[in-house]
Symmetry: C2
Subunit: 144 residues, 2 copies
């Protein structure tokens, strides 16, 4: 009988990646609850804080999300008053998403989140930097 060593969970790269990603989102939850944001809404707001205005297509490219995910997220963020959605006059197919003043203010409340998160993770800075570098390398070589 074959051993199928390579089919064991402990030998997979995908599995700890999948578990860690979920865990990080779970660690964010109590911090994001204070801002009334989910994790997906948070990364969307990070993109908006950086750019003030983006089309839905651009947001999808930045966040690696398709319209099936992004459309309801943007409608929710609009309902909460953090962004506005309007069609482009140049091209009615495009949806322009604009950061509101309320959305901009939210950045102040979010300012402390990154350091709080780092303090949740008990790893040396060097390891975290290596992890960051390798994940970016993975994205460059495997995505698209």
């Amino acid at each position: 009988m074959a051993n199928y060593e390579q089919l064991k969970l402990s030998n997979q790269l995908c599995f700890p990646l999948y578990v860690c990603a979920k865990e990080v989102v779970r660690l964010y939850k109590p911090l994001l609850d204070d801002l009334d944001l989910t994790y997906t809404q948070y990364i969307t707001m990070m993109a908006m804080w950086e750019h003030q205005q983006l089309t839905a297509k651009e947001l999808g490219e930045i966040l690696y999300l398709d319209s099936g995910t992004l459309t309801p997220v943007l409608k929710t963020l609009e309902k909460k008053g953090f962004v506005e959605r309007q069609r482009s006059k140049d091209d009615e197919r495009s949806l322009i998403v604009t950061l509101t003043d309320v959305g901009q203010d939210l950045q102040h409340k979010a300012a402390s989140i990154p350091e709080k998160m780092v303090s949740c993770i008990d790893m040396e800075l060097e390891d975290l930097q290596t992890l960051h570098r390798l994940l970016h390398k993975f994205m460059r070589t495997s995505i698209q």
Copy 2:
């Protein structure tokens, strides 16, 4: 006006982790379609191939999934004939999940998946090993 450098997506560790995890699941999809498995069903089957029989609780601990996720996954796997679900006679609260012969046979079809996945990822083995090691370290230090 503050710069909020630490709130930029490019400075987050969480974001590439989240993107890479989703991408890996997406890369698995065409391979898993041949087995009629989703990614969550696949990791569940990996645990079952390794242990033959587990309680739902044990599966949840191994896979870091709660009953809200696992209950429907196990019902689907039972419907496909890959596992059987029955209550423990010792403790009626426990659900015992058992690998069926059909489920066992599926391992042969899955045997080629790991190498196919590695060939999808254009990174040196050393980088992949480092990534694996750091993600496990992250799990040990941050989860629970």
